[in-house]
Point group: C2
Chain length 190, copies 2
């Protein structure tokens, strides 16, 4: 997605060799008009698929997932929670996701009421790095007896192996911009 790559180059900041900071439009400040275009692009990429639910993780995935769902006939969005809130009284599916950036392990939780057997689920996230979050979401979908139609990532850090891991697990992956490497403060796309 050309517009996305231009935006990453214009507004993104490379930190070291592994981190790209895009908090100007994607995960702290949100450019909603631009995220609509991201949603449209996911629709184009998954146009051949039947999808009845979009699944993401709080917090950065929520805006992208919501604006993507608009282009899939407003199917429901579900976001996995990283902590068990006090109002989450019933059963939930849980899966472990390690964050290499933060050096933490999160338990992702989704209420059993919100993913149903037979659902056709599109997983959407802002970043695809090592693939841990998407694999955990896919695990939750499978626990529910539902089907992962595909995984859509806004930005993939191609050098961290996430898409290979997801494809090896049998998932279709569409990343709108794939970063090949980060070198001396420069972001180089595949």
């Amino acid at each position: 997605m050309k517009e996305l790559k231009e935006k990453i180059l214009a507004e993104g900041v490379a930190i070291g060799t592994e981190i790209v900071k895009v908090d100007h439009f994607l995960n702290h400040r949100l450019d909603v008009k631009f995220l609509e275009n991201v949603g449209k692009e996911f629709k184009k990429r998954f146009a051949d698929c039947e999808i009845n639910k979009v699944l993401t993780v709080e917090a950065s995935g929520i805006a992208v997932a919501s604006l993507t769902a608009m282009y899939f006939d407003y199917v429901p969005v579900v976001f996995a929670k990283k902590a068990a809130p006090s109002t989450m009284t019933e059963g939930f599916y849980v899966a472990e996701a390690k964050s290499f950036t933060k050096g933490t392990v999160s338990l992702l939780r989704v209420s059993e009421r919100f993913i149903e057997k037979g659902d056709k689920v599109l997983i959407i996230d802002d970043f695809l790095a090592h693939g841990q979050a998407s694999l955990a979401l896919a695990n939750i979908v499978e626990q529910a007896g539902a089907e992962v139609v595909g995984v859509g990532a806004v930005i993939e850090k191609g050098f961290q192996g996430g898409s290979e891991r997801l494809r090896a697990a049998g998932h279709r992956v569409e990343s709108l911009a794939v970063i090949d490497k980060i070198e001396e403060g420069r972001i180089i796309f595949k």
Copy 2:
């Protein structure tokens, strides 16, 4: 907002006398089409105001804030973070918010780059309870030398005093549904 009240009665679950669980459309599963109508309603309520930024808190505020910003000419959305992420290297405004539901105190953080002097900020949140989150966001706006135009809440728990506290601090408050009390599993609107 009639449609909202009907939705709360149809899909909300009262827990004890203080908690209303609306995770079916607002804070775990998201009904994006409905949240568009919420955004439209906020535009109607604040139609007389000049607004150039929408501010909320992760995670539940993000979808509502994004869909509200669409109706304010796609002004940028900024969401305050509850934890300092590893990619947040620069200075940030910080304010303390106590959550009575969770029994915790969060530090809300917003990068200094994203609220500017002179900004006219609409604060949006899913719930207005004791008002702690909105007061913390207003504090951040003021630290930045910007102006709080108003506070918009989807659901106000009228019996917890949040809107009184905000109005006492000089803020305009618009809540789309005000719950007067929760009694024997019944939700009663003002």
